[in-house]
Amino acid sequence: MPPRPLCPARFRPATRRVRLGGPIAPIALIIVLSACGGTPPEETQTATPGETGPVTGDITVFGAASLTDSFTELGEGFEEAHPGTSVRFSFAGSSSLAQQILSGAPADVFASASPATMALVAEGGRTEGDPVAFVTNRLQIAVPVGNPGRVTSLEDFTDQDRTIALCAAEVPCGAASARAFEAARLTPAPDTYEEDVRAALTKVRLDEVDAALVYQTDVLVAGTQVEGIDFAESAAAVNDYPIAVLREAPNPAGGQAFLDFVLSPDGQAVLGAAGFGSP
């Protein structure tokens, strides 16, 4: 087999100029980059001065679905700061990721959308050190453009005639939604319990539901395709996102460096711009 014909020497620097055009581009980029995992660093780029220890190789990060866009951007920043590294992401519902990790998935870092899910992993003895909260997220009502169902508050979620999507109680955004409805003393009448927050958002984007409860950050990601409505009870359902390096990580040093990068001012700036709050 010829050595890496798909990864010419100038491939990686060139791709870094690609901006976040849409949700697919960065993912495709990550896939391509991870295929070039072992590529030695060609040009020394803007390595941040003061970084301790050389970090190299593939770093595998399991991230909650709601982190998809901001972590993809963070990954690019990290690779720029640490030439020779390649950050690979697996984004899914936090609970699925937790089960995969508990079943021995070879990940270095886990960033969960809920402390409860992280606790599962910690109880299973798969975290190295204590998980730290790195951002918070709050819920927002997402409605299709023009708000066809004329949804204004959580109370409209109890209306049988409106088509409503909520996250399933088994996933973090569903648990947060339950807390919000509890705080509002309302019983929602949803038509579907979506398997993760992005699935709920998709239903709004496609205009198939009148409203869904999703994270504020997801509303931002969807841009002009959905409208977000704040509601008072969201304060009762603020989610902490914990992050931890995993025990038996294939690349513990790389995992720690990525975690540090997420907690660094640069990392927090990216997450803040995506709509996350500070813990």
Partner: protein
């Protein structure tokens, strides 16, 4: 297993034994893994949960309805593909395999874009009749039929191509009309193919997940079928998920065994 009387032993060429055995092991060992990890003590309590029975009932009803739709639409389609001499049939046959290649989740999105509230056809259904298909049990049936029908069509088409057309010709020379020939000659000839296709179709419908959760959503009693229950249980309680998966497996094996025995015996004689 009884040895055939003609002295050919098991009739299996030894050189086929190894790959055949490996194939069998590859297909069955994961199920053994499932069985080994099954918390048998929880089986009773889980099975008595109303939510589980509800999901099981919904799965059986929708998969049966989907199979019925596939039979009614799929058998004629297979006939056309196998017998029609119009140009473009080969292209149609190739297009027909697309739902097989399509990831079911994408199939679900495609169904939403066609039949959803803002879909190509769905918007008219909604505007004119106030009809909205997503998040209904009908949507579950449609998702299942969408992914399962190609299996039936391909099986039946294969049977039709393999059937001896001289029987049909003979019936025609005896004065039978086309419809009579189709009913009394062609259908009985390809009945084993139809039953095999229907069984495949039913099995695929019963296990359908991706298109269902995307197009029909997930609501207990309405759209939450067994595979969706298994998936959600996996999020928090893998033990329960294993038991649920096992229940689905047992029920489908029982049904398939019962159906096969009945149809094939009835047809073969």
């Amino acid at each position: 297993m009884q040895t055939p009387a003609d002295g050919r032993g098991t009739g299996i060429p030894p050189i086929l034994l190894l790959p055949a055995g490996l194939g069998l092991a590859f297909l069955l060992l994961p199920l053994v893994g499932l069985l080994v990890r099954t918390p048998w003590s929880e089986l009773g309590t889980l099975l008595s949960r109303p939510a589980v029975l509800e999901a099981l009932r919904l799965s059986l009803v929708t998969a049966t309805a989907a199979t019925a739709i596939c039979l009614v639409l799929g058998v004629p389609l297979a006939w056309v593909l196998a017998r029609a001499t119009v140009p473009g049939v080969r292209l149609v046959r190739a297009l027909l395999t697309l739902p097989l290649v399509l990831p079911p989740v994408v199939g679900g999105v495609a169904l939403l874009l066609l039949l959803g509230r803002r879909g190509l056809i769905g918007q008219h259904l909604y505007d004119w009749f106030g009809l909205s298909l997503p998040f209904t049990s009908t949507a579950v049936v449609l998702s299942q039929a969408f992914v399962a029908m190609p299996f039936l069509v391909i099986a039946v088409e294969g049977a039709l191509r393999g059937a001896d057309r001289r029987f049909e010709d003979a019936a025609a020379t005896l004065g039978a009309g086309r419809w009579l020939i189709f009913r009394r000659v062609t259908l009985p000839l390809v009945a084993p193919g139809i039953s095999a296709g229907a069984v495949l179709c039913f099995a695929r419908a019963l296990g359908e997940f991706g298109a269902t959760i995307t197009f029909a959503g997930n609501f207990p009693g309405v759209t939450r079928t067994m595979p969706l229950s298994v998936y959600l249980a996996l999020e928090t309680d893998p033990q329960a998920a294993i038991v649920l998966a096992l229940v689905l497996l047992l029920v489908s094996v029982l049904i398939l065994l019962a159906l096969r025995g009945r149809w094939l015996n009835g047809v073969g004689s």
